[in-house]
Amino acid sequence: MDPQKSNRLATGVILCFAAIVSLIVLSLVLYLLATGLPHVSWHFLTSAASSFTAGGGIRDQLFNSFYLVILTLLVSVPLSLGAAIYLSEYAPKNRLTSILRLAIEVLSSLPSVVVGLFGYLVFVLQWKMDFSLLAGALALTIINLPLLTRSCETALSQVPFLQRQAGLGLGMAKWRVTTRIMVPAALPGIMTGAILSAGRIFGEAAALIYTAGQSSINVSYSNWNPFSPTSFLNPMRPAETLAVHIWKLNTEGLVPDATAVSAGAAAVLIIAILAFNLLARFVGGLVAKHFRQ
């Protein structure tokens, strides 16, 4: 065939299929938003879920999702940052280091249902945490660690090498150079990584159904004592998240408006993910500005 003709044909075919795929995927998302958003109201966001009757909200699930993300970041950010600093600053070039890197790689390839299972056995049963936010946060930490360690390491490696040398040349300990110069300079990058990982664990469900649990007890939002069993801050209480709620409603839900509630919850979930992405982009923009100076 004449090259001009085949070029036109191939271009047409590629564009056509690309358009079809994009249309299908995008229309599904738009469909979700279109069916879900009308259901999202102030009442929906601020009232408790109902077990048998229609008209339940997602207040507790929404709060649990955010709270779980915060708890997870509290555990996983220091741990990942420490590991990243070790790998980029202290790790000798030997077999043990490559084994550790491989271990992190292995961790990133674990299916989340397997992580959930491990969390159930170890955190929930053996460590007697029961179904709790803490057990859920630990399970999510396992999922979060590899990605976050990698992004912290990348952020640290983007700090100009000369800055580190200048610090060492002044007689500063490596650790001080790291904490005073490297980490502050890499902070926007580290934050971008943390926010993106937050978006990812915000929607995680498989690792949570047997760790954080599938039920929400009645909690008081005015009780700020995290050790009180009825406090919303108590990390030892079982907590169903938004994503788990959607799954639960659709597999064993008894409420008559399960589809509507799920659609509303899914819309909220998508908007939250979008917000996480935009925030990461914004902070990422600060990084670019920071290094342009």
Binding site: L162, Q165, A166, G169, L170, G171, M172, A173, I181
Partner: protein
């Protein structure tokens, strides 16, 4: 150790892998003098300089003795952080930290735990004056160090090194990233500094070595070929290799 000697290298070799980059260098650096290390790229001059204040720790194996006040500082037992405070270093490119001019200068000083405002203020003024930067920045000490020009940034880095009161200052091609005017200013600064400090400078610029240094060492393929007074090296080199290098036969 003789009184007029600031630093002595005895049989120093440096190896990154199996093959040494610097071989059995022995030399004495005189106090309050500027000594230049010259040689083609890859001759080992920068590697040698970095070994002096232990910047090659963890990167290369350095053998031999580096004597500073009769103490061999090339031993694991020696506190490298203190060594680096006594033997400061200025790098090829200006490396200001992303903070104010003032904070940059006192950065090293803070490590020693100095908190007294008056001492800090005084040291900032002193160091910036020494580095010939005071008049240009005295009205904007709180401004970001990144707002300075390249030449000013490099003089700020010199001031930052001076603030910890080292005895020796190592300069690794300090003007290679600067324009001719800034280069001249830095060289003038060095002339002033040698009254109080011993300076060892690595340079790829032969004119700079002949203009600014009292002593010149020529290195070739990891070996120290010749070390003598600068006028002697440039006017009357004893070795054929030195002569060839100075006449541009390689390099």
């Amino acid at each position: 150790m003789e009184d007029n000697i600031a630093l002595e290298l005895k049989d120093v070799s440096v190896a990154y892998g199996a093959e040494p980059t610097v071989r059995n260098v022995s030399m004495k650096f005189k106090k309050n003098q500027i000594s230049a290390l010259i040689g083609a790229s890859g001759s080992g001059k920068s590697t040698l300089l970095r070994s002096i204040n232990r910047m090659n720790d963890g990167l290369a194996t350095v053998t031999g003795q580096i004597l500073f006040h009769d103490v061999d500082i090339n031993r694991p037992k020696v506190n490298v952080y203190k060594v680096r405070q006594e033997i400061g270093m200025v790098f090829q490119q200006p490396t200001p930290f992303p903070m104010s001019i003032y904070e940059n200068v006192i950065y090293g000083l803070r490590l020693t735990g100095e908190k007294d405002r008056r001492v800090l203020d005084q040291r900032v003024e002193e160091s910036l004056k020494h580095a010939a930067l005071w008049d240009e920045v005295k009205d904007r000490l709180k401004a970001s160090a990144l707002s300075l020009s390249g030449g000013q940034q490099q003089r700020l880095c010199i001031a930052r090194t001076l603030a910890t009161k080292p005895e020796i200052i190592l300069m690794d091609e300090p003007t290679s990233a600067l324009d001719p005017i800034s280069t001249t200013q830095i060289e003038a600064t060095m002339m002033e500094l040698k009254k109080d400090y011993t300076i060892i400078i690595v340079t790829h610029n032969m004119q700079q070595a002949s203009r600014a240094s009292d002593w010149t060492a020529f290195m070739h393929q990891g070996n120290l070929i010749e070390f003598n007074q600068t006028t002697e090296i440039f006017m009357n080199p004893h070795e054929q290799a030195t002569n060839d290098y100075l006449n541009g036969k390689f390099g």
